[in-house]
């Protein structure tokens, strides 16, 4: 007897549908939480102490990892780029190219990735564990608004301090690229930094700052939202964290694509 619900295709389809459904729920939650957060910010329901606390985590605690990742990436790129450019007679362009790549893409995206793994994951897991241990319910009964207490400070911290992380890590990345070019292509540092200025546009920097701010706010919102909607037990905390990290990566890729198409196409 042919039974539709036992076929492999059917089961795959159900699985896929489940995932689509989950994705739609996530989008719905994000939209709702975003509106709630903006409402609180507009009515100035901002918890200053918490905002400072979260900003510290966002900007300061994450610096070692974001600096390392951005510096390593730019060093590797310089290692690949500089000798090749030198061979082709374009050594003078190394600084310029590094600046273009660094400011337009690498610094913001790579530090966003670092922040997701370091800060986003911890936002998601701590809020999820509060949710599953009823701490958020307790907050509601005590008439303290969890959106204002948990979401808003993280959102503001992300929007304000991701650009700072971008600036610091971008600067370090450029210096690293210069040192590496000097080391593996005998490019003089003076030459590198002179060329660098030709690739540095104020417009690019502003766009990158804006983009970083979007990245930061998005990571904070997604992480908080995924954590907040967790229910059940310890397993759900893990699932919520995974969901936050994966969705944040996707969202960053999406924002990056949108920014590139809007500003550079």
């Amino acid at each position: 007897m042919f039974e539709l619900n036992k076929t492999f295709t059917y089961q795959r389809f159900v699985l896929l549908w489940g995932q689509i459904e989950e994705f739609l729920i996530l989008i719905g939650n994000l939209g709702k939480d975003f509106v709630d957060v903006i409402k609180r910010i507009l009515s100035l329901e901002i918890n200053l102490n918490e905002t400072i606390e979260q900003s510290k985590r966002f900007a300061y605690d994450s610096l070692p990892i974001s600096l390392t990742i951005v510096s390593m990436t730019s060093a590797i790129i310089a290692m690949q780029l500089a000798p090749e450019l030198a061979r082709q007679g374009g050594a003078d362009y190394t600084g310029m190219l590094s600046a273009l790549v660094m400011v337009r893409e690498l610094a913001a995206v790579m530090s966003a990735f670092a922040i997701i793994s370091m800060v986003g994951a911890s936002f998601a897991s701590e809020i999820a564990s509060m949710a599953v241990t009823e701490q958020i319910s307790a907050m509601k009964v005590l008439k303290v608004d969890p959106i204002a207490y948990l979401f808003v400070p993280r959102f503001i911290a992300g929007a304000l301090f991701m650009p700072v992380v971008f600036i610091v890590s971008g600067f370090c990345g450029l210096v690293c690229a210069g040192l590496v070019s000097n080391w593996c292509a005998d490019l003089s540092l003076l030459n590198y930094f002179t060329s660098l200025w030709h690739g540095l546009y104020i417009r690019d920097i502003f766009i990158a700052l804006l983009k970083s701010s979007f990245f930061g706010a998005t990571i904070a919102l997604i992480s908080s939202s995924c954590g907040y909607s967790a229910h059940g037990g310890a397993k759900e905390v893990g699932l919520a964290t995974t969901k936050a990290v994966v969705s944040s990566f996707l969202a960053i890729a999406m924002w990056d694509f949108i920014f590139a198409s809007v500003f550079y196409l």
Binding site: M130, T133, Q135, S137, A138, V141, K143, V144
Partner: protein
């Protein structure tokens, strides 16, 4: 404050966890809620306190009521120490912003801690306390805003008999001092004897006993009798439910 619950129904996954539940708790009275594990007691408290939405029915509370809840598993904020946990509503609630000075808060916190028999543990974190201590810190946090409706979810479970008695006396005292209406979910007969005025018993979402403590304990009702005598035989069947 009079708390009235009318025809309350709550459905989880097509299952009626609460089915047309009605009762009234007058000012200064304590209602005990008993029932098997999974019979919807915590759900009832969560709906009264506004954590969960009801599917139908009414919760009637006066406008100026202040509802507090002591959670089954304490639900203390694990990122804050005991002091900040208890001070939390005074510091973070919008309507209280700037109303209390630091000294006043310190005084209130230590006074509430004293009421639950804990002193000098302000700087400890919840993870450094025993389960019973966490529970009592949870009470202290619940009553810090002088509520007039207090919901206790299994306040004495997991405590030794002496501490239980202390908590029971404390529930009674607090009710008098704040002139509050209380709802106490409990499995413990000692708590029903000492701290409760009326009892309702839930089974499969419905109220199967509703009456005075004496009647509950004196086997007037077959459901109550099965619960009090802890008998497997009786109208309630826990297996397969």
């Amino acid at each position: 404050m009079t708390l009235e619950v009318k025809n309350l129904t709550k459905i989880f996954d097509n299952k009626k966890v609460l089915d047309n539940v009605s009762f009234k708790v007058e000012n200064g009275q304590t209602l005990g809620v008993v029932g098997f594990s999974g019979s919807g007691k915590s759900t009832l408290l969560k709906i009264i306190s506004g954590i969960l939405e009801k599917d139908s029915g009414e919760i009637i509370l006066p406008n100026n009521s202040e509802v507090a809840m002591a959670f089954q598993y304490s639900a203390l904020f694990d990122f804050l120490d005991v002091y900040d946990n208890i001070a939390f509503p005074l510091v973070e609630r919008k309507e209280f912003r700037g109303k209390y000075s630091k000294d006043e808060i310190t005084k209130i916190v230590s006074q509430k801690l004293q009421m639950v028999g804990l002193e000098g543990i302000e700087e400890k974190f919840p993870s450094e306390l025993s389960g019973g201590m966490q529970k009592r810190v949870g009470f202290a946090r619940a009553i810090v805003t002088n509520p007039n409706v207090i919901l206790y979810d299994e306040p004495t479970s997991g405590l030794d008999p002496v501490t239980s008695t202390m908590i029971e006396d404390y529930i009674v005292r607090l009710k008098r001092e704040l002139n509050a209406s209380c709802v106490v979910v409990t499995h413990q007969l000692s708590t029903i004897r000492r701290a409760v005025d009326y009892v309702i018993m839930l089974y499969q979402g419905k109220i199967v006993f509703d009456g005075k403590v004496e009647d509950f304990l004196n086997n007037k009702n077959e459901y109550a009798r099965q619960f009090v005598t802890a008998s497997i035989q009786g109208p309630m069947n826990i297996i397969g439910k």
